[in-house]
């Protein structure tokens, strides 16, 4: 209760009274900057999606690209050239007219080695972009890329205004950034608040929204509140309109609160998994990996640890996601006795202290993860299950500031992250391609077949072919038990009851997306 009181006090201190013209959002973590091309950071993506736009938008189903800045497109027979017809009624917040030159500039910048864009691959292997007229762009690829349209919905592929980029230089995305989105960048106070204002000229909302623009609020304030209890108290006290980062352990309280509405984002593809570094002797044997994967009870973890805010994951790709292979569903079968037998078979025998050993080495793999979110609690629960089969996980949580650097090292056996993704191809091309060793392919998985199938899937000219090759990859990596899928994490949007038409989107852990329909009852 003291924490609740403190949290409420803090909430009252950091937020002013809600005004009718301002929409108040709140989240737990800020971004390093808001230049979408220079990061993979989720907290950048949600804000960027508000003030900048992509050629195509992602529909509510999480798998269908719909026209946005591009009103239509055609694809050449060889799958290498996309011709986009652009809207001619779009302008940036600065007032500058949006044209094909902005598209060409944006993707050239994305591919510029100086930018070091970590997600440049999402735009495909670009050969050339041509503005054949002010509202037509020819997007030519070196090789076909079957998921190009889906990937173009991602925040890293938003369209930038060259004048804004050049005028702001190193401060681009920090002191400002121009965009064509429904909101305009106004100010940012790092780790405190970002303020956006209405883009009055905006009227090109994608088909998924009833309101094509402009938005129904003059301003949008997004406050950063790292303390979970403070976020709970602030929402309960009515100081904020919405958040997509309500602590999951308090979702039940939010559902019971008369002033709040909880809406799950459906579909939502967020996998919490543990990966095995196959080059480490302790987990190089797939029998050991499988034993760990089948010795746990995912349903109990979902219910007991996540309090029902997650679903058990038995496959690496969610069954609702594009190109999920139904044939992978029976590969992970929880069975403690079989787990023990597999470890025996692999030569790991129970030692005097109850921990298995082989050649005088204890089966005590080091497990790295970030000391935040759900992972620490899930890791502890799994540690408890594995003690029963003689495996002693050595948990090593790292602060989020150094976790990714630590996970790029090689002296541990297992790691865990929670990854949002769009489709089977999206997830697997990031993690299982040998070109991505040592990170994000931290398994050090180097397999010719996998690489070839991924390439075939990427460059497939038909949906059937793409699904076929991605199914082969799913079968292979799951039978090798390179990952231990554990939970599909739910994402809930919590809003004040006065907020209406705030349907949560699923794109990259960002429920607000464009927020065009959101309004507040009088």
């Amino acid at each position: 209760m003291i924490r609740l009181a403190l949290g409420m006090s803090l909430a009252l201190c950091v937020t002013g009274p809600a005004t009718a013209q301002t929409l108040h959002l709140m989240k737990g973590i800020d971004a390093p900057h808001y230049d979408a091309q220079r990061t993979t950071w989720g907290p950048t993506s949600d804000i960027v999606n508000m003030f900048q736009d992509t050629l195509v938008a992602l529909d509510w189903d999480g798998r269908t690209p719909v026209p946005y800045l591009a009103k239509s497109w055609t694809i050449s027979e060889d799958g290498r050239t996309y011709t986009f017809k652009l809207r001619d009624d779009v302008s940036f917040c600065s007032g500058k007219k949006f044209t094909a030159e902005d598209v060409v500039y944006s993707f050239k910048r994305l591919k510029d080695p100086a930018i070091k864009a970590p997600y440049a691959w999402r735009a495909g292997v670009i050969k050339e972009l041509r503005a054949t007229d002010p509202y037509t762009v020819e997007y030519e690829l070196e090789e076909p890329y079957s998921e190009l349209l889906l990937q173009l919905t991602m925040f890293t592929n938003v369209i930038h205004n060259k004048e804004s980029v050049e005028a702001l230089g190193k401060d681009y995305g920090i002191k400002g950034a121009d965009g064509t989105g429904p909101w305009c960048f106004e100010s940012w106070q790092p780790r405190t608040e970002i303020v956006l204002k209405r883009h009055d000229a905006y009227k090109w909302g994608p088909s998924l929204y009833k309101n094509k623009g402009p938005v129904k609020f003059e301003k949008l304030s997004v406050k950063i509140m790292p303390e979970e209890s403070s976020r709970v108290a602030a929402m309960m006290a009515g100081q904020f309109d919405m958040t997509h980062q309500f602590p999951p352990q308090f979702i039940a309280q939010a559902r019971a609160a008369p002033m709040l509405t909880v809406t799950p984002a459906k579909p939502n593809f967020q996998l919490l998994y543990f990966g095995f570094k196959t080059t480490r002797p302790m987990v190089s044997d797939k029998r050991v990996r499988e034993a760990m994967s089948i010795a746990i009870n995912r349903a109990e973890i979902a219910k007991g640890v996540l309090l029902g805010n997650a679903d058990p994951a038995f496959t690496i790709v969610d069954s609702d996601a594009l190109d999920h292979d139904a044939g992978t569903r029976g590969i992970v079968k929880e069975d403690v006795e079989r787990a023990k037998a597999l470890l025996d078979e692999a030569g790991w025998k129970i030692g005097s202290d109850g921990v298995r050993e082989k050649d005088s080495i204890k089966l005590q793999p080091k497990v790295y993860y970030t000391q935040a979110g759900n992972t620490p609690r899930v890791a502890e629960a799994i540690q408890g299950y594995l003690r029963r089969i003689g495996v002693q996980w050595q948990l090593q949580p790292w602060d989020s500031t150094i976790a990714s650097a630590k996970m790029a090292e090689q002296d541990y056996e297992i790691w865990s992250v929670t990854v949002p993704y769009l489709s089977a191809g999206d997830l697997m091309n990031i993690y299982f391609d040998s070109r991505n060793i040592p990170t994000p392919n931290r398994m050090n998985w180097k397999d010719t077949e996998t690489d070839e199938w991924l390439k075939q899937g990427r460059s497939a000219l038909t949906d059937t072919d793409r699904a076929k090759y991605y199914a082969l990859v799913q079968q292979k990596v799951m039978r090798e038990h390179l990952w231990m899928p554990v939970l599909n994490i739910n994402m809930d949007q919590v809003a004040n009851k006065k907020i209406t038409d705030a349907r949560p989107h699923m794109i990259y852990q960002n429920t607000f997306y464009k927020g065009l329909d959101v309004s507040r009852q009088k």
Binding site: R3, L4, E228, S229, V232, P247, Q249, F250, A252, Q253, N297, E300, I301, K303, G304, V305, Q371, P376, R377, A379, E380, A381, Q383, G384, Y385, R387, Q394, L395, Q396, P397
Partner: protein
């Protein structure tokens, strides 16, 4: 004057040990608060010592079908967020917490005491040692713990190092102060004059005459060290799962304060009781040993 004549009076009295002073234990027993604190600490220490035999359940056994249960007949202190028995974890956690406190007190006291006494006896070292002590005092224990954990990784060792480093300068100052008083006595000068070795003078005459002061200081310090160790555990610098440690257990429970307050409050209360008992006992020791407080 011969060396033997030095083994009398003030110097010899201290050699017989701090508890052997006439009536020390009797006077401690007369102080009701101290007696109660001593009893509580004894029970806690015994429980920690015999943890494997006393704990009703395996402190590491998880049961996700029984998460966050409030205290009941089956689990007297309830269960935590992975269904582990909190009473068993408190018993094992107390053991780790006490070990950390003792390591901080004993190792820190030893190093600090040596530094203080050497700084006093060897005047040429005084400036160097005390400047080092000043530098060490400039860093709070929490900061040292964070630095050690960042370099070597979080764990009980990191906390132990931080507690030792935090204890050393305070003890060194206290020991130096006490030793300065002893150095002013004639028997020290006399010992040097008759050729008693440095080692004998430092140990038999200087150290043994300072030891009660240092001991009292450390008993007062013990509670503070426990609290600092628990704070480091709370911040995630200490024991790593599944190891039980009171500070870490309190931290794990904070996310569930609204729905299962017992997970955080029970280990916090145990920390409170240990620290209170240690402080009361430390106060009582000071009252008994400090001649200025005796009437």
């Amino acid at each position: 004057m011969s060396a033997e004549t030095l083994d009398t009076g003030f110097a010899r009295e201290s050699e017989t040990g701090v508890f052997a002073r006439a009536g020390v234990l009797r006077r401690l027993a007369r102080d009701r608060a101290a007696a109660l604190a001593g009893l509580v600490l004894t029970v806690i220490v015994l429980a920690a010592l015999f943890a494997p035999w006393i704990a009703p359940y395996d402190p590491y056994f998880t049961d996700l079908t029984k998460v966050m249960r409030p205290p009941d007949a089956e689990h007297w202190f309830g269960t935590d967020n992975t269904g582990r028995d909190i009473l068993s974890r408190v018993i094992f956690g107390t053991r780790n917490t006490l070990i950390l406190g003792l390591v901080g007190v004993i190792v820190g006291g030893l190093i600090g005491g040596i530094m203080g006494i050497f700084a006093t006896y060897y005047r040429r070292l005084d400036g160097w040692i005390m400047r080092l002590v000043d530098i060490m005092l400039a860093f709070p224990a929490i900061l040292i713990g964070l630095a050690v954990a960042a370099i070597f990784g979080a764990g009980l060792s990191a906390v132990a190092i931080a507690l030792v480093v935090a204890t050393v300068p305070a003890v060194a100052r206290e020991a130096r102060g006490a030793a300065m008083g002893v150095m002013g006595h004639d028997f020290m000068e006399a010992g040097r004059a008759v050729g008693v070795s440095d080692g004998a003078l430092i140990w038999r005459y200087l150290t043994l005459n300072c030891i009660s002061t240092i001991f009292v200081f450390l008993t007062l310090r013990f509670g503070q060290i426990i609290l600092t160790g628990s704070a480091l555990g709370f911040l995630g610098m200490g024991a790593q799962p599944p190891t039980a440690e009171l500070g870490m257990m309190a931290a794990q429970g904070r996310d569930f304060l609204f729905m299962a307050p017992h997970i955080a409050t029970i280990p916090s209360c145990v920390i409170f009781v240990i620290v209170l008992a240690a402080n009361l006992l430390g106060d009582a020791f000071r009252d008994v040993f400090d001649p200025r407080l005796q009437t």
